[in-house]
Amino acid sequence: MTASQLQHYAVLVYVLFWVSRIRGVVRRGKQPYLRGPNWFFNVPVPAGFYEGPGRQILRGYWLRMAIPCVLDIPAIAMLLTGHTSWLPWVIVALVPIIHGNHMYNVNIAERQAWQFAKPEEAQATVTSTVGLSLTPRRLKDYTNWPLEWVMALATVAAGFVLVHIYRAAPEEHSIRAVFWVPAFLLYLQLGALLVKRVIVTWRAPVPMAQTAEHMATRDAMRKYYLLMCDWNRMVITAGIVFRPVLLSASKAESELLIKIWLGVWLALSVAGTVWIEIRRKQLAEMGVKARPVRMPDLSGQAGMTKWPVCYQPELPMLVLQGDRGYSLNLAHTIAYLGAVYLIGMALLLMLARVGH
């Protein structure tokens, strides 16, 4: 496959990414009134709220939804100047930004809406009784072991084949040409595991009213996100396995193989996107059944969230939530690991350019 064909493919992926984003924008746009006209997200609001102060809050929420589109400006510039090979990186950057922006956006909108909440209803959402699950929640409890074994064995086998390919004809392939892509994919695999750990350890207190509904929703959400992680990890493993196959094929064969690989990847992405939308709708319906509650702030988090980041070694939460939004706890182990991971990623990307 030529460089020009690969660039066309990158444009196609970007266009498909945009199409899938439209559905996300519609879904997020409707999210404030998912519980009905008397609710704004999880805030009980009086009748006529959406015609009164709610109108401006809703408008602000919709406008902030567009913030990630700032990254589309360089993407458009790439499209216009023909540097389309960078487009996949824009997609990689956009995915976490869209999710992070949405999280903050909902928080801001809810905080604005609380000022107009129905007092008696608002009081009813505050719970003084918290239920804690005594079931240990560890990464291994949410691990599909047969799948892990398949992925591990496939990765090791691919590694052996790559070593064999390199040792058989070192003059034909440089170390970087043989090992950099699988090393990068392996590193992404490590990142996906880190994300899995965050999902598993995410705090999950439940109120003592509608406990079963709240627990079922939390567990379904957790399993959904973990499944997403595993899907991505499977694709990454397939990429590692594909590398030696590609290197051992002739030029004509490798062109055909890349076309098949990209075609399958595209078809699976489309099918996956459709499934994600269906599942998200089911989860939203499930979540609506449980009446929202506000958990008590037992550690005084409200006063610790003045800045987007904080350092609270005695608190085991990665993200603190208070009156002024969210704050990332830099003292949390996952925050350290995340920082080390990003530094490692930067080094790996620099390595790709060394001796290029």
């Binding site: 003084s128 009784t129 918290v130 239920g131 804690l132 699950s133 005594l134 079931t135 240990p136 929640r137 560890r138 350890t201 705090r203 999950a204 207190p205 439940v206 003592m208 406990t211 958990m295 008590p296 702030d297 037992l298 550690s299 988090q301 005695e314 608190l315 085991p316 939460m317």
Partner: protein
């Protein structure tokens, strides 16, 4: 299995956690060898300081109700006869009964309540 914590309870949180786990063990809902969540998980779920849960676990360990295995977490210990003296056990009972009498409860009413509570708590006793 859920542990309930009430913010309007007069007891400190670590005491509520320890008492709640003790109650579940007494009722037989937490049986010997059952793993307990790590301190970090409970503290994060509740949104409290790590020490709060660590103190509760230490109390349970001191009472011989849980065994802390380094590297693999805490598990419910085998039920052994209590080594506390009758005097030690009688003091909190007398305090509680005094509260009921001062609140104006009749002897029959207190006995009825104690019998009911004993039925609930004693489900797990051998």
């Amino acid at each position: 299995m859920l542990l309930t914590i009430q913010t309007d309870d007069a007891r400190p949180i670590y005491q509520q956690v320890a008492d709640g786990i003790k109650e579940l063990i007494a009722r037989g809902e937490l049986t010997e060898g059952t793993p307990l969540p790590p301190v970090r998980q409970l503290a994060a779920d509740l949104g409290v300081n790590l020490n709060t849960i660590a103190v509760a676990y230490r109390e349970l360990q001191k009472d011989g109700l849980i065994v802390v295995k380094h590297g693999s977490g805490s598990v419910v210990a085998p039920r052994a006869p209590t080594i506390r003296t009758q005097g030690e056990l009688r003091t909190p009972l007398r305090t509680a009964l005094t509260q009921f009498v001062l609140a104006g409860w009749t002897k029959d009413k207190i006995l009825d309540l104690v019998t009911k509570e004993l039925e609930i708590v004693g489900r797990g006793s051998k």
